[in-house]
Amino acid sequence: MAKYIPGQLGRIEGKLGELVLYQRRGIPVVKRRPGKRKLKASASQMLQQEKFILATRFLSQVRAVISLGYRDRKTSMTVQNRAIGNFLRNIFQHTEGGVLMDYTKVLIADGELDCLYETQVTALKGNFMQLTWLEQRYLQSGVSGEDQVCLLFYNQEKEISYLQESAGKRSDCELSLHLPEFMSDLNFHIWVFVISESGKEVSSSFYTGNYTVIR
């Protein structure tokens, strides 16, 4: 991908003849303007496209979390690309009718920080959700009792997500959340992950299961 140095006209972005100029991670780059595909896609290409559509649609719902959960590693890839790559490799199940997303395999955060152990979710009346986990007596370096616990709720039917940042601290070993009214009686996939106090490190996420918020 070509880079360009902005001249006297300043930075140019958008289509310019057969080229497209844009910024990638703050660097101005140039690529060929995309054209229409002339050949019909093969079966495997169609399958890959189907996966890509599903992954991108899911990603667009949880974009705020992805930018938190995938920023730990220092690579040249954008957080979006890392997440999409991870999804395409791991989360799809092939069925006769096409492909299905396996939510248990979705990593909405991918990092090196120590995660929580034996996390258990209990849905309680009045839109309450309780989460418990094991107490860790012997914390390794970089791990702190002050690390922030984050939860992501995702409803598959309505494609809505709800992120609860800093829901509690690692040392608390339990937390109780009062969820907003719009989540009542809906079913949510729930993931948990931890962010260090400095916000620089993140743990890999853990899928806790599928729960209904009880009014």
Binding site: D114, Y117, E118, L134, Q136, R137, Y138, Q140, S141
Partner: protein, 207 residues
């Protein structure tokens, strides 16, 4: 990695730089030739040992530091080398770590006498002979304990536990709802961290 006395350079296939006050040269770039079974086996051993060492990094950085200082190397390299030589068992691609042969510290301090491990409902109780001070053992040597959960690749450890003359140390590992296999180790380190004993494997338990 070869050592050279040349200036720091970089060519298409090698790079030279200073590492721990030594000039080193190594290859760069992707290895595109077809790999032999021997090469694949070495890579697999490296992958396994690195994955394990990452979980116990804080521990081995202390326990292999005296050995690393003697060899003018770093603790990670010494630990990695020992695991690959002594604890990787099996043929490629079925290699795995033999935890009973694993050494998690290296030094001249003599091993502890009359070591006993008692497993209680929620804790591990280690005890040893508190009065023994032969061959450089000191009353204020600190016990270091490590428990490794192979199924979830998680380690817990105490880096500076009881003094030798106290004769006992309690360890309370994570208790999961499902019983897990744990591998347990113990070692002693001098209070100034300059000498350390070889680690003692205290067994595999269902916890």
């Amino acid at each position: 990695m070869s050592k050279q006395n040349k200036t720091i350079t970089e060519s298409a296939r090698t790079v030279s730089y200073m590492l721990n006050n030594k000039r080193v040269t190594r290859g760069v770039g992707l290895f595109k030739d077809r790999q032999s079974i021997g090469q694949l086996a070495v890579r697999e051993a490296t992958r396994i040992s690195t994955a394990f060492l990452k979980t116990v990094k804080d521990f081995i950085e202390i326990t292999f530091e005296p050995a690393a200082a003697l060899k003018k190397d770093n603790a990670w390299n010494i630990a990695s080398s020992r695991i690959r030589k002594e604890a990787i068992r099996g043929l490629y691609p079925e290699q795995q770590i033999d935890f009973s042969s694993l050494c998690l510290s290296q030094g001249d301090l003599p091993p502890v006498d009359n070591l006993e491990l008692k497993v209680e409902k929620d804790r591990l109780e280690y005890s040893w002979n508190p009065g023994n001070t032969r061959n450089g053992m000191l009353w204020n040597d600190k016990v270091m304990l490590l428990v490794y959960f192979p199924e979830i690749k998680k380690a817990e450890f105490i880096l500076s536990g009881a003094n030798r003359n106290e004769g006992k140390q309690i360890f309370i590992p994570l208790k999961f709802a499902i019983p897990r296999v744990i591998e347990t180790y113990l070692t002693f380190i001098s209070s100034n961290h300059k000498t350390v004993s070889d680690s003692v494997y205290t067994g595999r338990l269902i916890w």
